[in-house]
Point group: C2
DNA sequence: AAAGTTAATTTAACTAGGTAAACTAATCTC
DNA sequence: GAGATTAGTTTACCTAGTTAAATTAACTTT
């Protein structure tokens, strides 16, 4: 395997394990957090808006949102268009959100702390060139 | 989500989809190929050697190797130590291997073609700094 | 207004990763 | 040599991504 692609996969797996470890104390998984986070950014989103925003396929979001709803993080209600489902955070989720966000920011800072801010920007730019 | 971590996850998902598309014509998935590839490098490997080499957990390799065996890519036989299982490529796999490798090298070259070789090396180095 | 098409979501089935715990063979310790 | 520990593998059960096909509501066309 090409060393760059190999390293990228290794790091992605490493980071997603680390994200899960960090979120574990809050009873969340990485993908659940990413959904909560983007809903919170937009206050309210339909499933289609979520999967387009996160750049994954629709069934992934159906499943994660269903689970988040079972766990009491989000509430789902029909949109104007009766085909679509609109999702927003519950009271409890809104209350817990800041503490989780703090944990995550702390974690993310620790993860990139070995890079200077120039290196971080450069790394993002180089990654964006792959397409 | 931190933009660097976000971009890394996005690229990892993008690349693994692309690898799967490339391998599709050979009837393989990305993780199956990575197992075949590392067995071929070492001629013969135990399950533990494989999962340590690929840096994933043991059950992942048990499952993938079982599937590869069902599909006729590898053969499994007991090692000296009767606890361990030794895996090597079948005749058929050895015959098909070069063509698949050619497809993959071509694919990998295309994927990193937007980077100069200096940029590629720099990108690897920056990724390695994350730990 | 009926028929056809498009859009939003879901279901089913697959790969691919993880943890926790069980099982069996090998090794260590006393 | 019996008992305890360690090592290799597996089983069970999660999350998390994919594609293909089904379902239902909305929109277009004629």
């Amino acid at each position: 395997m090409n060393p760059l692609i190999h390293e990228l996969f290794q790091k992605s797996r490493f980071l997603s394990n680390e994200v899960n470890n960090t979120l574990n104390q809050h009873g969340l998984y990485a993908s659940q957090w990413s959904v909560l986070y983007c809903i919170q950014l937009h206050e309210e989103m339909t499933l289609t808006q979520i999967w387009k925003y996160l750049n994954v396929e629709a069934p992934t979001i159906t499943r994660t949102v269903t689970r988040l709803s079972e766990l009491g993080w989000v509430e789902i209600h029909p949109g104007k268009d009766r085909r679509e489902k609109s999702v927003r955070l519950t009271e409890q989720a809104l209350k817990d959100f800041p503490a989780i966000k703090t944990s995550m920011i702390e974690f993310e800072d620790r993860m990139v702390s070995s890079l200077s801010s120039e290196e971080e920007i450069l790394l993002i730019k180089l990654l964006q060139k792959i397409k």
